[in-house]
């Protein structure tokens, strides 16, 4: 009797149903990895992981035996563009966050933050288009061909800047007011408060922002596809064209068959693992920071 009554209990049904949905949401990540593995399986069996780095280059073919599957140049392309973007964006983003919190009059700071939020919502294909029609011709006039690591780094830099700046800004906002008042009571000037008290206290959030910015830069497809030139090579200078892992997938999926397509899924898997590692490092940093502020 009690068993049948509880089976019809709407509360139990509700809780069970909700749990099931939550479990599915959590399982989605595992599903993504499993499906990538399934599709990458054939080529992974045929060449093993090492030929991804030991082959003579990226000359994929429909059969693993006929192709060369080195992703070194693609990794170098992704790395160079993401590194350039971060080097350009991080200092500007941190200075922007300090600007919002410590330098600008409140109204302008508010307006600036709103601008960053809108900028964060601009689609990557629009950034890519702007880079293609404005930046690439400009760079071309200076250092041909124009479509290059530099173009990619500039466009991506502008794209990830809001991510870093907004996270740094909210990290600065969560610095306890008591800390800032103490700095003021000690007679520290505004810039010493900002640089030597607030920024170090917000360090965890700032670093998390930078790491998530790097992850976004590595995972970005459309903008780099449109401005980087897509030549598979390890760049010798910032003016040379490169092809990133992401752009390579977008370019070749349209016509890839057999082991070639399988290899593209394998590069997708590499990309995913890379980004997962970055996100986990960022989470770790955030967790450590939260503990420190909670205890401090």
């Amino acid at each position: 009797m009690p068993a049948s009554a509880s089976r019809l209990d709407p509360d139990r049904l509700l809780t069970g149903g909700l749990r099931l949905c939550a479990a599915f949401s959590a399982a989605l990540l595992i599903l993504v990895v499993i499906f990538l593995l399934l599709q990458a399986g054939p080529v992974l069996d045929a060449i093993g992981p090492w030929r991804l780095f030991a082959d003579d280059g990226w000359f994929p073919a429909d059969t693993a035996a006929a192709g060369q599957f080195s992703i070194v140049a693609l990794l170098a392309g992704s790395g160079a563009v993401a590194f350039g973007a971060t080097v350009l964006a991080a200092p500007l983003a941190i200075a922007s966050a300090v600007f919002c919190r410590f330098v600008a009059p409140p109204r302008i700071g508010q307006l600036f933050r709103r601008m960053l939020e809108v900028l964060a919502g601009v689609p990557s294909v629009v950034f890519g288009f702007w880079g293609l029609v404005v930046l690439v011709p400009l760079i071309n006039r200076w250092q041909p061909p124009g479509a290059s690591v530099l173009a990619g780094a500039l466009v991506l830099g502008l794209m990830i800047l809001p991510t870093i700046a907004l996270l740094a800004d909210s990290a600065l906002r969560s610095v306890p007011r008591a800390t800032l008042s103490a700095a003021a009571a000690l007679g520290l000037s505004r810039w010493r408060t900002a640089l030597q008290v607030a920024l170090p206290a917000a360090r965890g959030g700032v670093v998390t922002g930078i790491i998530l910015g790097v992850a976004r830069a590595i995972g970005e497809t459309m903008a780099v596809l449109m401005v980087c030139g897509n030549v598979v090579q390890v760049p010798a200078s910032v003016f040379e064209p490169v092809r990133t892992l992401t752009a390579n997938i977008a370019l070749e999926m349209a016509y890839a068959y057999g082991d070639h397509r399988s290899a593209l899924f394998l590069t997708g898997l590499v990309l995913t693992l890379l980004v997962i590692a970055l996100v986990l490092v960022a989470e770790l940093g955030r967790g450590a920071n939260a503990r420190r502020t909670a205890h401090g």
């Binding site: 949905c21 410590f102 601009v122 990309l271």
Partner: protein
């Protein structure tokens, strides 16, 4: 002296950022504005996009968004309810949260591969609006869940206690008390999700495809506005002017969507602080 230096450096940095923003936006508004009129928004695509309008593209984009939200919203709402009531020390809540954090970082092109393999191949949906919408649903799920959960957590614990004290069942509490109270948070999540989904290109390239005709059903391939911009910019010679127009339409739509989300969430935040 130091104060002046810091202020100078920060104003300079903010100026560079605002300058870049203005350059990007100004360029697209100046080159796009002249071509946009009612006919452009309604007419079918002609001559690979060099002529005609973007009517079918807007329809396809909207259908993709509808599919995306009708799947992700129920799933996201259910997950957010579980998370908002889950104890962080328990393994289940922690696992779901961590998994969603990582999912939020997965590159969109990887979601494209996943959607192609699952919806296109395994489920046999091919290149279709359904494939694209479902792929985007997976992609926006983390951002949706995060804001809905914030909305649910903002409901004061007193209200839950009051409902329990009245002897309400859990599901009645949820439907009659918690969801109405959390509605603004849900709305912010939906708007943010729409913003993210409408901006997406890479995940749609090999799920919803390139076809620019008016779709007959959800199983037809349909070109989203973002894919239209990409195609005009890179694959169509002389497509540049029309790419500007399409980019302006997308930017204006997204700015409206994002500003709505921001002002909604700020109102939500202030209403949470005030009663305390």
């Amino acid at each position: 002296m130091g104060d002046r230096l810091l202020a100078g450096v920060c104003w300079l940095a903010a100026g560079i950022v605002a300058g870049g923003f203005a350059w990007l936006l100004g360029d697209i508004v100046m080159n796009g504005l002249g071509q946009i009129n009612l006919m452009y928004l309604l007419m079918p695509v002609a001559d690979a996009g060099r002529a005609g309008g973007i009517g079918p593209v807007i329809v396809s984009t909207s259908l993709i968004l509808v599919v995306c939200l009708s799947v992700s919203l129920p799933l996201g709402l259910a997950t957010a309810i579980v998370l908002s009531e889950a104890d962080d020390e328990r393994w289940f809540g922690r696992l779901v949260r961590r998994s969603l954090d990582v999912l939020a970082g997965v590159p969109s092109i990887v979601f494209g591969l996943f959607g192609y393999a699952v919806f296109g191949l395994a489920l046999g949906l091919g290149f279709s609006i359904l494939s694209g919408g479902l792929t985007l649903a997976c992609m926006v799920l983390p951002i949706l869940i995060r804001s809905i959960e914030q909305g649910l957590r903002a409901v004061p614990i007193d209200i839950r206690h009051a409902a329990a004290a009245l002897g309400m069942q859990r599901w009645r509490t949820l439907v009659a008390v918690l969801l109405p109270a959390a509605a603004p948070g849900v709305l912010v999540g939906v708007v943010l999700g729409i913003g993210r989904a409408a901006a997406e290109t890479a995940a749609l390239l090999f799920t919803s495809g390139y076809v620019a005709r008016m779709p007959d059903s959800l199983l037809d391939s349909g070109r989203s506005l973002s894919v239209h911009i990409f195609d005009l910019a890179l694959n169509v010679a002389g497509g540049e002017p029309r790419a500007y127009a399409a980019a302006l339409v997308l930017i204006v739509a997204l700015a409206v969507v994002n500003l709505t989300a921001i002002s909604l969430s700020e109102r939500l935040l202030s209403s949470r602080i005030n009663p305390a």
